[in-house]
């Protein structure tokens, strides 16, 4: 050896510090818990404030003696409050999720399943459509110019306005039930997938593309070996948005169907009969479902990215 350079084979690669993540996690529980507590307090206060006028009216009509503590007790225990208290919603959810057979029309599990199935079908269709559009837009210049404005314009139409039209039109050609709702989900969720995928497929840097060119590789080789893997992190970011709005699409799709089943139907029936507790429990269930679905996509993301060796926290893109 004429130089004093250490043998590179024996020098270990950089080791990542494991303590950092766990510390960040422990720091997360505090703020989130505090926020939750704050929301619950405001919710209880709001329930008293909003329900009080009707209660006080009643007291005065019946000459009932009342004080503040009676008012709060009554405000948090009304049958059809303007704003139900959190515990009322939780009790209703407990009754309709765990207290009913899941085949029962009154079971929230049953209704959730109806909504989830059209959400998932719509998500699958929307993701497929979104990816196909992105591949076309990236590879065909004419499509980039002609398709992109329509993709963006499609999202400016209020979904509430177009959803009944889709249901009616599809109903006229004999499509009812799951498929029309899924199509509304698809209509909403293809958009973020297209946008994210276009960005992802264009994300390889010029050197990586030049490299493929020096190998005189075909367009499909460039796609499968470079563009597709580069786009995966972008795809997952889009999928998280897509699955959440896919659920919104499914619920919106249930509103004009005459309210047969699904979370949307529960919302509609609840509002017919002024069952605010039922509406709120359906709402809370919907948001829990959305959270679970997003978390599931997040788990898939972690798994795939780890297998690809792409480090999530500020690593290689």
């Amino acid at each position: 050896m004429t130089t004093e350079v250490a043998d590179p084979v024996t020098s270990a690669p950089a080791v990542r510090q494991p303590g950092l993540l766990s510390r960040a996690m422990s720091g997360k529980v505090g703020p989130v818990g505090l926020m939750l507590l704050l929301i619950v307090v405001i919710w209880y206060a709001g329930a008293v404030y909003l329900n009080a006028p009707r209660l006080i009216d009643g007291y005065e009509r019946n000459d009932t003696e009342w004080n503040f503590s009676k008012l709060t007790d009554d405000a948090w225990a009304m049958e059809r409050p303007i704003l139900p208290a959190p515990h009322q919603v939780l009790i209703e959810m407990n009754n309709t999720i765990f207290g009913k057979k899941i085949t029962s029309k009154r079971s929230l599990v049953y209704h959730s399943w109806v909504t989830i199935s059209s959400t998932l079908l719509g998500f699958a269709m929307g993701t497929t459509l979104g990816m196909l559009l992105a591949v076309g837009i990236v590879h065909v210049k004419a499509l980039d110019k002609s398709l992109m404005p329509w993709v963006i314009a499609s999202q400016t139409i209020p979904i509430l306005a177009i959803a009944p039209m889709i249901i009616v039109v599809l109903g006229a050609i004999g499509l009812t039930g799951l498929v029309p709702k899924s199509i509304i989900s698809m209509y909403l969720c293809f958009f973020p997938v297209t946008i994210g995928m276009v960005k992802g497929l264009r994300s390889p840097d010029p050197l990586q593309l030049d490299l493929m060119r020096t190998y005189s590789s075909s367009t499909s080789q460039v796609f499968w070996k470079l563009r597709w893997p580069s786009s995966v992190p972008f795809l997952f970011a889009s999928l998280k948005v897509a699955i959440a709005i896919s659920l919104v699409g499914a619920i919106v799709g249930e509103l004009p169907t005459g309210a047969q089943a699904g979370i949307g139907a529960r919302l509609l029936v609840g509002s017919y009969y002024g069952q605010t507790i039922q509406i709120w429990s359906a709402l809370v269930t919907a948001s829990i479902l959305a959270g679970l679905l997003v978390a599931l996509v997040g788990l898939a993301e972690k798994f795939v990215l780890r297998r690809m060796g792409v480090v999530q926290a500020g690593g290689a893109g």
């Binding site: 130089t3 490299l211 060119r213 020096t214 070996k225």
Partner: protein
């Protein structure tokens, strides 16, 4: 002094091979049309690179040396003049996979482990699995990275990543190796080490190497021929033959022969300098 053959004529023949030109350019020019008007990147470049030579392009930043390399690789199109690579057009040469290109940055694919980065060109060429693995093992060993096959690029240092990219360029066994400032981003110690390794590799494989650098010692140490270029428009100022003993080590940088060539390169660079100071 017998080792230093200084010639003024750019196209002078070198005795390393029997006049078998790998790259030949004739009045090559390239002008980029930009929003701020034309940029003259290359102007009337006449250059012949013979088989088995180690040719360095040296010049200040923005002198067109990378552009010239990219024209050879068919990554840029000349606006005037002729160029042949392996006696055919650069495009045909590229389609024949005549060269391996090492970029300024390693340009590794982050989702591929070291061995799969090395086999990337082999997959594209459709080699068999066993052939791919055999070659990956051979070239990873050649760049001293045995034991790192299953690491992802981010787990390696910059110097190691660049060596992976060299192994990748070697893996499909091109006769011509184009290296665009491959060690530019590395620290000097790593750079010296890789320079020595590259020199040994060149001797072992007898490949033609075209090497872009802006380091005078690097150019003199590695090359059999140094092409000195001036800033815009990129022109060839001097072509210096540089036949230091083939088994030279880094110590050769302190010999009078080395210093004389380095001096001439520096003179050339100074002559072509278009800055005011």
């Amino acid at each position: 002094m017998q080792n230093v053959a200084v010639k003024a004529e750019p196209a002078a023949a070198v005795d390393r091979s029997a006049g078998n030109s790998v790259v030949k350019t004739d009045q090559l020019s390239l002008t980029f049309q930009t929003a701020d008007g034309p940029v003259y990147a290359l102007s009337n470049v006449n250059l012949t690179i013979e088989q088995g030579e180690f040719v360095s392009f040296i010049g200040p930043s923005g002198c067109g040396k990378t552009t010239l390399m990219r024209v050879i690789a068919d990554l840029e199109q000349p606006t005037e003049g002729d160029i042949t690579v392996n006696k055919v057009s650069p495009r045909e040469a590229r389609l024949n996979r005549a060269y391996g290109y090492v970029f300024q940055a390693p340009a590794l694919y982050p989702w591929r482990q070291v061995d799969r980065n090395v086999t990337l060109p082999l997959e594209i060429m459709g080699l068999s699995q066993t052939e791919q693995q055999e070659r990956a093992a051979r070239y990873i060993e050649m760049v001293n990275l045995k034991g790192f096959e299953k690491k992802f690029p981010w787990q390696l240092s910059g110097g190691m990543q660049q060596r992976v990219s060299i192994a990748r360029a070697l893996s499909f066994e091109p006769d011509l190796l184009l290296m665009d400032e491959p060690f530019g981003a590395l620290d000097e110690i790593t750079r010296d080490h890789l320079n020595e390794q590259l020199l040994r590799l060149w001797e072992k494989t007898q490949k033609t190497v075209v090497f872009v650098t802006h380091s005078i010692p690097e150019a003199v140490f590695l090359s059999s021929k140094i092409v000195v270029m001036s800033p815009r428009p990129g022109r060839i100022i001097d072509v210096i033959d540089c036949n230091l003993p083939p088994d030279r080590t880094l110590d050769a940088r302190e010999t009078p022969e080395f210093l004389e060539i380095a001096h001439r390169v520096r003179e050339g660079l100074r002559a072509g300098h278009s800055y005011d100071d």
